[in-house]
Symmetry: C2
Subunit: 338 residues, 2 copies
């Protein structure tokens, strides 16, 4: 039916079709200036009929705006950065802003290259996101556009980063386990060199201390893998056979832990409760039983980052430092009270 014309129609043709000048057509379509109602209608009808869309290049050129931002990630748009991106897109899309996607593959050269390209394209801002929340080198000082780091943290204090509240997440898990009557609690988590691992452990131990109890042994730092979860659980059971709960630094670790617990004859949650971290659906649902876990609200992080970026683009004074977003606890079988 609607046989599309490959030819892109301009406002000039709309104006001609409606029998008015270009300027008048523009005013009619944008509701500006003084025009008769009949004229406006005639122009609108012509535009509709011809399928006119204003050329954003021309508009942008004139207004000096592009309504685009860049999104730079080193996570290969993986598990962490995706929800962040979606949240960001939500906030940006509402403002009619489109997103240029760049994956750096964690290569600083590529990253620099992409930043150049984004600036050349006159993006109005940049969001940087990553695989982990670890501090990373600033993407560049004195860039001509605002930059926000989401789910990763710039090493420079002059930059602005939005990351999850890992301490709070640890505390959340601790308080939940205490509330369900468990006091002998172990902790198996990722490498100690990761700030996220350290902060989660801190949040856990501090919350336990506040309640007048302590961790069963030291936190077991290892790897972010299932395999380490299995080993860690073994170590924990040997040192503390009477452990009542395990808080794990990630859902993958929690899976490993759960498996070993089961194999050692511990029932979950009756004998030992397990709490994970990440709320990563395929891991959490495949776990037996389904895993209570801490959700970092990644979408929220992305949304907040994007909102800050929009404000900065709008001229608000540029924020600095780190903003933490609260985690929330997602309850499932693995910590049920029998």
């Amino acid at each position: 039916m609607s046989s599309e014309q490959a030819h892109v129609v301009t406002i000039r043709e709309v104006a001609a079709a409606a029998g008015v000048s270009i300027g008048t057509a523009s005013k009619a379509l944008n509701g500006r200036g003084k025009l008769r109602e009949e004229t406006r209608a005639r122009v609108s009808a012509a535009a509709e009929r011809l399928g006119f869309r204003p050329n954003p290049l021309a508009q942008g050129l004139l207004q000096g705006r592009t309504y685009t931002v860049g999104l730079v990630t080193g996570d290969s748009f993986g598990r962490f950065s995706i929800p962040v991106m979606l949240g960001a897109e939500d906030a940006l899309g509402a403002g009619q802003i489109s997103v240029f996607m760049c994956d750096t593959r964690d290569d600083p050269i590529r990253e620099q290259h992409y930043v150049e390209r984004l600036l050349a394209r006159r993006v109005e801002g940049i969001i940087v996101t990553g695989r982990r929340t670890e501090p990373r080198p600033s993407i560049g000082a004195d860039l001509p556009v605002p930059v926000v780091y989401a789910m990763t943290q710039s090493a420079s204090d002059d930059d602005f980063s939005v990351i999850p509240d890992d301490r709070g997440g640890g505390a959340l898990a601790a308080r939940h386990l205490l509330a369900t009557g468990r006091t002998r609690i172990g902790h198996v988590t990722g490498p100690e060199r990761f700030e996220a691992a350290r902060r989660r452990a801190e949040g856990l131990t501090d919350a336990l201390a506040e309640a007048g109890t302590g961790l069963a042994g030291d936190p077991l730092f290892g790897e972010w893998t299932e395999e380490w979860g299995r080993q860690g659980a073994d170590i924990l059971l040997r040192a503390h056979p009477d452990v009542e709960a395990v808080f794990c630094g990630s859902d993958q670790i929690a899976r490993g832990v759960s498996e070993t617990l089961r194999e050692r004859g511990r029932r979950i949650p009756d004998d030992v409760a397990v709490v994970g971290f990440d709320n990563w659906e395929p891991m959490v649902e495949g776990c037996r039983p389904p895993l209570t876990t801490v959700d970092m609200n990644l979408g929220e992080i992305g949304r907040i980052a994007a909102e800050h970026l929009l404000e900065a683009i709008g001229g608000a004074p540029r924020a600095r430092g780190v903003l933490t977003v609260p985690c929330s606890l997602v309850l499932r079988e693995s910590t049920r009270v029998s």
Copy 2:
């Protein structure tokens, strides 16, 4: 040090700084026209010093090109679409083309909305990608720019889709298992309504038939979940206690299958070999033992899709139909020959 000016510098200022006209500056920077070497150098130096970057809006307006394409996904940029995207980006980035990212959340309204937006932005082409390879409604007939479907398939024969060779993948698994001396082979896979599931089963049974043997029972169609994998393995073991190998429709299913096999006292790979599908790292590596699996070469799919899009943009006659990309087998412990 380099205190950046918020003011964006134009070629006019470069020209003024170099003491030449705008046109001359343009020629100098682009290596066109007849200019003295000294002049070129002077202009280049001025451009460098002022940090000049040509405004892509102005360039695009003039050339009638934008050097952008849209990437539309319903997969929330998940496990499948991400590698596809990266492959596509590889091919496009080399051509200095930037990618607008759009996530439809599988909502047709949002999708239509995004397509509108992309067209308004004058993208030169669109890549559509999805969660599964199932046929989906065409994104629109007679669009003014070329469209390629990657890892998803348009229901319209007029469109062009690039998808993995699921049949071939099934055959690959079959031949590998046969080569390692297993002949009693079972199949646990996803819902029968999925073409991907049916084609993988076909590839498997056909390859077995070719070798003069047959499947142990009918394919067990179910869900794409670990839970179903566990159930499916139970059903299979009850009907065929002497099964020597199981080919699974996904890595998640394979995990469930492996778990049940282990619990029923079967050693992997000594008693029963297991092959998965997807080569999804966290699943495959967490599996005990690590899983031999079929890789769909998603990056390759993305790259091929992007290359076709580039050709179409370049004016090549638009391709139609479906292009399948071969899968490859990734060998790990779960099918080792003892």
